[in-house]
Symmetry: C3
Subunit: 367 residues, 3 copies
């Protein structure tokens, strides 16, 4: 039942051969071993074979390292004595492995140009090396920087601007007038620039407050599958440089997500909330509207954030799942908490009375 | 780091010039000032310049009002003395501003007709002024009322009916046989009429219960980006007139959402639940199946609704995020609550014993 | 306000006539009544008319059974005496009804073949009876088994393999290299094979860890509208045979969902979590990463699962919504729990002191 069992020996995407000496230079690691050794794919330590580059991420994997069939390994300096395999030695093995995997398994691209089965408006402005795949649509006034890749079935609405080397994956929609930086990646089905959820009451009914702003993504931003980032009412909803957004995340109008913050799946931000730089947010967390969250905060999964935060740290909420019978009891007891507190107070007073205020007695008064 | 800082002076969507006298008449406000003054866009109070119409939504903004470069302002009667700017005076400034913004910044439409890069089945029935954009698909038997706009990449499945002036945005899918009213708006990627999640057990396996009904939207309904509204098993899943649904909301088979109710992002409704009219639901709230919720209920974000409700009011649940160390302690204590309650009871009995049932004593008995 | 009121007499999808004797044989039920009676649609008991097959799912419906206009009924043996209607008698009425509805209301299919308004790459391999609808895209190297149906606007990326009789609904995206079994159903807008959310820290910034694996679906798997299933980093993200996934579910890289497990709307799984066979998961539940959940677990809606589970059973968490005033009080009290526990302990010690350790006294010590 292991997902990465020994029978899966290679990643699905093929790799290209790299000599270890050249690779070490490109990824910024120190080589210890034969520079002529060739690796042509990355693999998990316990299922690696000929030509595999592996990664020692955990001391507990040292046993597997003895038996691996890998050609080379990425490891920390202090683990170098664990193996005689050629090694890329580094203080940041995960980072070096990520870079190496990106080089060895570079993403294949179809031929440049607008496919005959795509549709691109006359007024659209396409940089050199742009790819527009079958079934994709680029509306009037859109501007695509060099090497932008619009995958099958994606839609770039009127007047949107997309920076160099950005990839818009299948079925994603970039709304009118939105602006994306360079090297961004918008995954399948994501919507950048939906209409913000803003209405004014007209008696019992709701009247839309026109959402006239846009969404702006910095450079190196990634947005996950079927995520939804709403345009601003006025001005801009902003994801700053390097922000990473996972699948099915909801970001409402006028939010701003600070540089290099990372937001996991199904998180939601209500309108006009600001998340500072360098934050991480666990899955299914939720933020109320108009909050100011200082940089360097970390929210565990399902955290329910209802107030602004001015102190960096780790924040959490929610009660973990327990057997249903016990959970029912806890729910009932929480409902009784107010009454329990009053009974506790009454007891304290009675004891005070019983003691007759004797000098030896002390009471805590926490209320 | 402000999203609407002074450098953003105009909304992205251009506006058209309106004389204030004419505008006042169209939006239903009283004009106090020169009717010949022209406004050609709306703006935020603190970044407004020539030609801007602004909106005083908050008394704290009165200082900004002194310095604004705006041409005119929407405000309440009791704030009229705060400025000598020409004003649209009203008891409902947000509503008047919403109407004015909608007039000044009317949505641009492409030319009418079926684009050559769209596909419309022979058997489909299109009213006058219908737009079908590149990459959109309209399947056999679909009926589109006058001025319906099917944006790029949207799909109208077989036999769906769409009322006049409704807009189906890019990549949205309207399922077979579903019926939408007039002036609805379905945002990018939303799915109206997915298959309900209904299965019967066959030993260990599940057999699909065919989902044979449809989804019906009243007039003026809006459905957010990547939301999913399932068709009924039999009969109809219904969103009544004026219902507003935000991004990534899940509405299961056979639910019914009452007239003018508004549901924020990532809320979920399990099957056959009825939400009465005029309710509001905060983000990430969840409703169990087969509930009956009376009209006029308001649920704060993340509310977990497990039972029917017959009294209008505000309902809430969930514990707000706290620093992780404190949260861990609270979680542990909640697990001990049952034991604490028993210890409290024991103490009460002991005190009763110590007092020997003295007539001066009183006890509260809450259990 | 009932969604299935008497005015809705027939399901939207038309049915075909079946003689009851033939139908009984096909669904595996015992016939008690005239085998020549014809049914041509299924209906709800309280709104059924001529030609309807109904289903007695609940003893409370027996009154409605007396008055129904249905032609025949599916019921349990022990309810046979409740009606003289022709009946399909069974120990599993819901299952028999599901099968019968599937036969009577078989899904209509358009003509086989690649529609001229679709695009299929030269290198793609299509089995007999495949349908590719207008606006759909099949990229190079994709392999579609016999009778696969790719609906309007769906995208099959390069090298994906799809088993016989599987349906990919409108706007769904099957990512490069993913493999789907037979008789699967991917609902509109679902994304199979988005990029996993994996990054390595590079100073303040994040560097993508290439996601080189794929998603594998067994046979008879269903994935709901706008759900997102990420490909593995290496190896495979797996949904085993018979798994049912509802709308807007998020399944991160390298998860594995066991055979016949069913997951309701908006549930999220963080990376590398294993859910055993035969589990059910209520809506909006969430699972942390790297968990091992034994088969036969049932999670109620909104359960927050933070640890592995080795004992089958029912698990729950979360506090149900209460009136806001009471909720605020409970939240405050939970924050005071630690202090309350300390005060309780102090009281116990004081009473011990007051009693002078009398032999008749007993204390519970729960800490």
């Amino acid at each position: 039942m292991e997902s990465d069992g020994p029978e899966v020996r290679r990643p699905f995407r093929p790799g290209a051969p790299w000599r270890l000496g050249v690779l070490a230079e490109h990824v910024g690691a120190e080589l210890d071993g034969d520079p002529e050794v060739v690796v042509d794919h990355v693999a998990a330590l316990d299922s690696a074979g000929d030509g595999a580059l592996v990664f020692l991420h955990d001391r507990r994997m040292c046993a597997a390292l003895q038996e691996t069939g890998a050609a080379a390994v990425v490891l920390r300096r202090e683990e170098r004595n664990r193996t005689t395999l050629p090694a890329l030695v580094t203080d940041h093995p995960q980072l070096i492995f990520a870079r190496a995997a990106g080089l060895i398994h570079a993403e294949p691209r179809p031929d440049d140009g607008v496919h005959p089965a795509a549709w691109v408006a006359d007024g659209a402005d396409l940089g050199e090396g742009v790819i527009v795949a079958p079934g994709a649509v680029v509306e009037p006034g859109a501007r695509l920087g060099a090497r932008v890749w619009v995958q099958s079935g994606a839609v770039i609405q009127a007047g949107a601007e997309i920076g160099e080397d950005t990839v818009i994956e299948s079925g994603a929609v970039i709304g009118w007038g939105c602006r994306l930086g360079r090297r961004c990646r918008v995954e399948p089905g994501a919507v950048i620039g939906g209409t913000g959820f803003g209405f004014a009451k007209d008696g019992e009914a709701w009247v839309r407050i026109p959402q006239l702003g846009r969404v702006v993504l910095g450079d190196d931003v990634e947005v996950g599958a079927n995520a939804a980032i709403d345009r601003a009412t006025l001005g801009e909803t902003v994801l700053e440089d390097g922000v990473k957004i996972d699948n099915l995340v909801h970001i409402a109008h006028n939010c701003r997500i600070g540089v290099h913050s990372a937001v996991a799946g199904q998180v939601g931000f209500a309108g006009s909330t600001y998340l500072g730089p360098g934050c991480t947010v666990g899955g299914q967390a939720g933020f109320a509207d108009h909050l100011e969250i200082v940089g360097g905060c970390h929210f565990t999964g399902r955290a329910m954030v209802t107030g602004s935060i001015d102190t960096p740290g780790v924040y959490s909420s929610g009660l973990p799942a327990t057997p249903n019978r016990r959970w029912r009891k806890s729910v009932a007891r929480v409902q009784q908490l107010d009454e329990m507190a009053r009974r506790l107070r009454a007891l304290e007073q009675e004891i005070e009375a019983l003691r007759g205020g004797a000098p030896g007695g002390t009471t805590e008064d926490g209320e």
